[in-house]
């Protein structure tokens, strides 16, 4: 995120703290898509991502007056998001929160050519541990430095470095395997379809 964008967000936060509803609205608009992608990557489930996203904004905005440095809103939001997700996991500890058919269908409805890739990415992300997933998304998807990711996730820079190496290794290997596997299934189906003709 560029300096001017951060300044812009800090200005919105300043106004939002005074109770300006327009500023609150703009603040959500400016951050929601990027934040949603992160949360979707972390949860791997569209419905859970919707809930966690909503809960995170509610918590972050309700206690906005406690944020001392307005330019740190993004870190504040991501930390809140991480906690909201962990709380969600605690509440649903007996339920399976992994990706399901509904979510795959939701993803397919996105209408992008890269939908298959999103599904593979999502599946592979879910094969990682929660912390590894968050670190990977914060650094490799969001483009944060180790220090920034450490601040976002409220862990040490050293922890980021260690988790990131393991996460990247698993992620890249599993992604390649998953893609090869899905391609071969597709190929077999195509041959059977031709035979049928």
């Amino acid at each position: 995120m560029g300096t001017s964008e951060l300044d812009n967000i800090a200005s919105m936060v300043r106004l939002a703290k005074t109770g300006d509803k327009e500023a609150l609205s703009l603040l959500i608009e400016a951050t929601q898509d990027r934040f949603y992608k992160f949360i979707f990557g972390v949860t791997g489930n569209k419905h859970i991502a919707d809930d966690v996203c909503q809960e995170s904004y509610l918590r972050a905005l309700e206690h906005l007056d406690k944020l001392r440095d307005d330019s740190k809103f993004i870190s504040w939001l991501y930390r809140t998001g991480k906690n909201a997700f962990l709380d969600h996991l605690k509440q649903r500890s007996n339920k399976n929160v992994s990706i399901n058919d509904t979510d795959l269908n939701d993803a397919r409805n996105l209408g992008s050519e890269a939908v298959d890739n999103i599904i593979y990415i999502n599946q592979v992300l879910q094969s990682l541990g929660e912390e590894e997933r968050m670190v990977l998304l914060a650094v490799d998807m969001e483009g944060n430095t180790y220090a920034e990711a450490a601040e976002l996730l409220d862990i040490t820079e050293e922890a980021v470095r260690m988790k990131l190496f393991r996460a990247r290794k698993k992620f890249v290997e599993n992604f390649e395997t998953s893609k090869e596997h899905v391609s071969s299934i597709k190929w077999e189906n195509e041959n059977e379809f031709k035979k049928g003709i």
């Binding site: 609205s25 959500i28 929601q32 996203c53 890739n117 990415i121 990977l136 998304l137 490799d140 990247r168």
Partner: protein, 183 residues
């Protein structure tokens, strides 16, 4: 860290970032209703907090009302060396402060006195000797004053009930006043 390991790390980083490019470019986004839901929920929470605030204020007002009455009684009749006691046979001014609950539009108050305690007034003889009285309140009034007198020593309970203009009870308070023999 040897050069092979560094190379492996760099390769992994490059591949990982390439994979995420698809994710970043995707049209995957927050629900169009997210903003509306969040703002509506924040509004609802704010309204709820306001209600809680007023409830707490009402409770605090009741407590402060009681303390104020006690303080007034103390001011009018205190004895420097002992705790507060009212004297039997002596008129005692009681002021019920309503400034803290003026938003409730207190229309009138009913005051009920126990046995052996009566209202006292030099100018209004109808009131003299009565044990229950209705005091009407003007919007500008900050308190409801009345004067009582006890013929008997002991703790006497004075019951004050505040009503609004729909005859609904706003507040009910029992005040215990200790009377001791004069002299």
């Amino acid at each position: 860290m040897n050069s092979k390991k560094v190379f492996e790390d760099q390769e992994l980083e490059k591949k990982s970032k390439e994979i995420f490019e698809t994710f970043k470019r995707s049209s995957l986004g927050a629900s169009p209703y997210l903003k509306t839901r969040v703002l509506a929920e924040l509004d609802a929470k704010k309204r709820h907090q306001t209600v809680v605030f007023w409830k707490r204020t009402a409770i605090a007002s009741t407590a402060s009302l009681f303390l104020l009455i006690v303080a007034l009684l103390f001011m009018f009749n205190r004895e420097p060396s002992e705790g507060f006691n009212a004297f039997t046979g002596q008129p005692l001014l009681v002021k019920v402060s309503i400034s803290d609950i003026k938003d409730y539009n207190v229309a009138y108050a009913e005051v009920e006195l126990p046995e052996k305690v009566t209202f006292y007034s030099k100018t209004n003889l109808d009131v003299m000797g009565a044990r229950s009285l209705t005091l009407f309140n003007e919007p500008s009034d900050k308190d409801l004053p009345f004067v009582i007198r006890s013929e008997e020593k002991g703790v006497k309970e004075v019951k004050v009930t505040l009503y609004d203009d729909s005859d609904q009870v706003i507040l009910e308070k029992k005040i215990n006043i200790k009377f001791v023999n004069h002299g």
